[in-house]
Symmetry: C2
Subunit: 341 residues, 2 copies
């Protein structure tokens, strides 16, 4: 974790993870390397014909490490710990633990990634568990939401820790101090269950730009830069939003196939529509950092295409350059927000 | 609760509830009466100039009952119980309890409605709490989701009860036995926290058309007719979906204002687009039944316009005609799903 902005970053990329494996990870690696002159990538996985797929001699910043096994896409935490060490996912994380890489990216199973990350890298001092964060498009920008599924049951202290981690990760995007909102079923004091009530009290005491309770629609209205919730609610929120966006885009396509008049309209509007869809599709903003580990681990969507995977790789690179884990460690100590304090 | 399909239904409508009060409830009542010859409506609330607003002599199926007070929009359960009895919300529910009405509709505060409903009507035998259900548009139809905020902390037995209530309410829409899905963070066995795991076991034992775990995106893909979750997650899901839909529609409007070419496209596509937006906007499908009470109570969106309010009124009317509370009571007993069994 010695890299800073403008310096070289070496990144380990799980070659087999995700729905498309090497068919996406290799083109994404090559594209990311062409975009980022400071980047070095080590692909790690099991791909028998890797030498036929790419000429490493002509890509000096791309390396290959053969793993022993492929972790099943549905591997849970137990299987991940038992069998994951020799997989591309396990090796990529181990390279970060060994300081052989500054960051790693995997499109593998989230539960496996969390289990291996906790086991190999460890959780930062004072934290109980890592949290998964993702940026989702909103009016005027992006909202960073966490946790998205790494923690299904949380207590108030964990929600406070998520807020601190989210702020530290978000700060690397620049701008004024991020506004933090706590997701709840209403804005009013006294709303929500005991855990959010207690977290609300804790967050008000911290020197963060805390804007209080926010509701689901406030995320898309851009009322907060960092939105905090438990992983069960966050996961449903993210996946339902992706599903709704997909449905609306499909319906929109149907509208422009409806009749001759609509087909003409579709042709005329195509460039503007395409740019809107690119901007707003939550699935396009790929690369969810697993915050709270002693190293940079970024989770890619399993269905990511090469463009989306490049986005995740660049996210991991930026986090390594800004040393996000060190910042989180320092902030948790500074705010006395650790578990033992 | 003696009404059946094709018979008269008398409905109590909270005149003051919602953002617009009588400016929405009165036009909605008149429109619903013109659409539904079997419907009778009693408006209940505090409106000083009600006689100037409508000529009751020319609307024989519309009645007015003056309430004593208006319940604050932010009234919590405690305030609702203490001060709500004399409000339009409280009276409308009391009319159902007294069999003076077959159903009631309110756009007031959900927490107040739940508290007053539980206090005045009571919960059906074997149930612990009511649950709020809403239909949201999906590919090929609608998914009924519950709970949407009446129960922030639930146990497995409650989730099972939500499934049964949802099926009974959904069955009134006709068609094959509704497919029930349990919302979770993954499809695989073993995913999710202890409560959904246990509920999964309970639901598998019931003679329902249970399709197992579903994820957020499955709602919009139409993978289930009834989707069950706790009220905290359901509330975030619904409100974030509404927020996302609103943002996308706004962006779409901007696309068609972008330049001359896009404006032409917008004019051409307008009819097809409008019909799509009407169909898909989750906010348009207004009328969330509060299931599990010994009487029909339907919650309208606070921001509902008259068209949306008519939708809620017709939902309440159908539930009264199909005697949904009696069906739920019977189903909970038949499945041995009550609290005391």
């Amino acid at each position: 974790m010695s890299a800073v902005s403008g310096q070289q970053v070496s990144l380990a990329l799980d070659a087999n993870g995700g729905d498309h494996g090497i068919d996406v990870t290799l083109p994404a690696a090559l594209e990311a390397l062409s975009q980022e002159p400071e980047l070095n990538i080590t692909l790690v996985g099991v791909v028998d014909d890797i030498e036929d797929r790419v000429d490493f001699a002509s890509h000096p910043r791309l390396k290959w490490v053969a793993a022993e096994s492929v972790l099943a896409a549905d591997a849970g935490p137990v299987a991940a710990i038992r069998k994951g060490a020799g997989s591309g996912t396990g090796w990529a994380i181990q390279m970060v633990a060994d300081k052989a890489a500054d960051a790693c990216v995997s499109a593998g199973n989230t539960a496996a990634l969390v289990a291996l990350g906790v086991k190999r890298l460890g959780v930062l001092p004072g934290l109980r568990r890592p949290a998964l964060m993702s940026d989702i498009p909103c009016e005027g920008g992006m909202t960073s939401v966490l946790d998205l599924g790494a923690n299904l049951d949380v207590d108030a202290r964990q929600l406070m820790q998520f807020a601190i981690m989210g702020v530290e990760a978000r700060t690397l995007q620049g701008g004024p101090p991020p506004r933090v909102g706590l997701l709840n079923v209403g804005h009013e004091e006294g709303k929500g269950h005991a855990v959010v009530q207690e977290a609300h009290g804790l967050l008000r005491e911290l020197p963060l730009n805390y804007v209080g309770f926010i509701e689901g629609h406030d995320i898309y209205a851009g009322k907060a830069d960092v939105a905090v919730c438990d992983g069960f609610a966050g996961n449903l929120l993210l996946k339902s939003s992706e599903g709704l966006a997909r449905m609306l885009f499909n319906e929109l396509k149907d509208v422009f196939r409806h009749d001759f008049r609509s087909r003409c309209a579709g042709l005329l509007a195509k460039p503007a529509l395409r740019s809107m869809l690119e901007q707003l599709d939550p699935g396009k903003h790929n690369g969810a950092p697993l915050l709270g580990l002693a190293g940079v681990v970024v989770k890619s969507h399993g269905s990511a295409d090469a463009t989306a995977m490049v986005h995740a790789i660049r996210e991991a690179m930026r986090e390594a350059q800004r040393q996000v884990p060190d910042r989180i460690k320092e902030a948790i100590q500074r705010y006395g927000a650790g578990e033992s304090t």
